[in-house]
Amino acid sequence: MRSVSGTRRVLRRIGDGLLVLMLVWTLVPFYWMIVTSLKKDKEIYGFEATLIPRQPTLANYTRLFKTTPFVKYLRNSTIIALGTTITSLVFGCLGAYALARLRFPGRALIARGLVFTYLVPPALLFIPLFAVMSTLRLVDTHQGLILAYLGFSVPFCTWLLMGYFRSVPLELEEAALVDGCTRLGSLVRIILPMSLPALAVVAFFSFTQSWNEFLYANVFVNSVEVRTITTGLTLFIVEDVFFWGPMMGASFISALPPLVLYLIFQRWVVKGLTLGAVKG
């Protein structure tokens, strides 16, 4: 009979092995992307396609920044992702508080309805939605795209935050209410400070979702002044020729902001998910 701590030691070893496998599985495709972006065109194609670039070059990146409006795309993606995140956080906090703490008819219905909004695939929505945007004269504007993204990020934020808010002990809020604090006051002073990790999680997810969105960005935007990275990337496909080098370079750069954010907010994110999802 082996002791529990003995088993744990064995599990650690197995874990080390598996970790290596997982890292390989996760990183090899990413590696291929970076390597492709560092190659000359000839080295990208055919059996000359090398696993390690023979003559690494930054030419693809130079091209990206010098001859394409890549910087503008980056700017637009940032504006739109941040805009969506801030707006949906505010909307989400308000709605989630109502659903988590207040009694009113229709609460269960609304809570459940939130989930069903995900069921509606964007591929079905984009044509009617485009009509809405046209009527509001928001086609080809940052605002229009932000508005479209609210359609998926607000329900998501509200749903997740609802779970978190419930996990904040009631007693704290009751004490505040007895002291004469209003409902909104207690949301701002009691609940939000205790839910900072949750806010980080929710913000992080809506940021990456908007940052990576493609279909709406494609349909609702025409001009360079508003175009985001994901749709900008597809311009490296000219008719039936792919310009893989610059496209992969652009992809690599566009993956960096979410990664950096994750690195920074990791502690918060990990803690945040914990509180909400487990106890919600």
């Binding site: 890292l23 044509i127 419930r166 945040g272």
Partner: protein
């Protein structure tokens, strides 16, 4: 034991702990609640509900892009049910979704358990394993197609350079391999969502619970099933639900990897709807294809959310 304690905490309805109040207070609470929910409801109304209803109406019409529609009742749905391609698509979609979600779950849980172990550089590893989530799906799909490429791709190059294989393997053209290859990409891209949420759940479990179980003589396996799993149940449900929806409704993987080929082996609903609505320009039929898959997802979600919402809704 652990299971019961956990549920006891979660099942206390939120309202009960508050002191009873006269009904005018309740009405005021209702007004405040609706005021707070207004932005959310507006967003849902205009950006989800309205387009959704438009889509439902569309599915009842014979409507081409740019042409006026004509109501035909359920004719689109009837035509679909008689179509052999549709039935095959239904089967493919189920296989695709179930296998992908199951694999993501297993891989995600394994990753989470590993990352939960104590190890140096753990934060760094967590970030590395998170990489696929940061890459836009369009790029994931294009990059993988490049990896699978028969002539210039990484896989074939690697296999041939290392003499593991002498022939080119046509990953996406082989009817036996294509679906598996598409699912692999979906799993690659979606696993971090699972590992992140699961890891968070694992870290929230108080260490004392394990210590107590250990004193009671529970083995590691028993600890996993009696301490870990019950504590993670809610998080499992949330994650699986969101991920099932995302997986089942995602268009881009199939569109960019195989377009449903070879010989409809990887044809799934979102892609069929897309080609019908935009390739054939039959908007009404396209909407019908999407909505035909809807009931399955609705049932799944009702099952999952009933469990989740129960504590709050009574």
């Amino acid at each position: 034991m652990a299971l019961r304690t956990h549920e006891a905490v979660a099942d206390v309805p939120v309202g009960v702990a508050l002191p009873r109040r006269p009904s005018f207070a309740l009405r005021r609470e209702g007004r405040l609640a609706y005021a707070l929910l207004t932005p959310t409801l507006l967003v849902i109304l205009f950006l989800v509900a309205y387009p959704f209803c438009a889509a439902v109406l569309l599915s009842l019409q014979d409507k081409m892009v740019g042409a006026p529609g004509r109501y035909v009742g359920l004719a689109n749905y009837l035509e679909l049910l008689q179509d052999e391609v549709f039935l095959r698509t239904a089967w493919n979609s189920i296989v695709y979704t179930v296998v992908a979600v199951a694999l993501k779950f297993v891989l995600g849980l394994t990753m989470a358990l590993i990352l939960d172990q104590e190890r140096r550089w753990n934060n760094f590893f967590r970030t590395l394993l998170f990489v696929p989530w940061a890459v836009p799906i369009v790029i994931v799909a294009l990059n993988w197609r490049w990896i699978y490429d028969d002539l210039s791709g990484f896989l074939n190059n690697f296999l041939i350079t290392t003499h593991l294989s002498r022939n080119i393997i046509s990953w996406l053209s082989d009817p036996g391999l294509a679906m598996g290859c598409v699912i692999a990409v979906v799993v690659w891209a979606g696993t971090p969502f699972y590992s992140m949420t699961f890891l968070a759940g694992l870290q929230a479990i108080p260490k004392e619970l394990y210590e107590a179980a250990e004193i009671d003589g529970a083995s590691v396996v028993k600890q996993f099933f009696y301490v870990t799993v019950p504590r993670l149940r809610t998080i499992f449900l949330t994650t699986v639900m969101l991920s099932t929806i995302w997986t089942a409704t995602n268009l881009q993987f199939v569109l960019l990897l195989t377009r449903g080929g070879p010989a409809s082996r990887t044809e799934i609903f979102p892609h069929l709807a897309y080609t019908t609505a935009l390739g054939a320009r039959r908007l009404g039929m396209g909407a019908a294809v999407t909505l035909a898959f809807f009931p399955l997802l609705v049932i799944l979600i009702l099952l999952l959310t009933r469990r989740m919402l129960r504590p709050a809704d009574d």
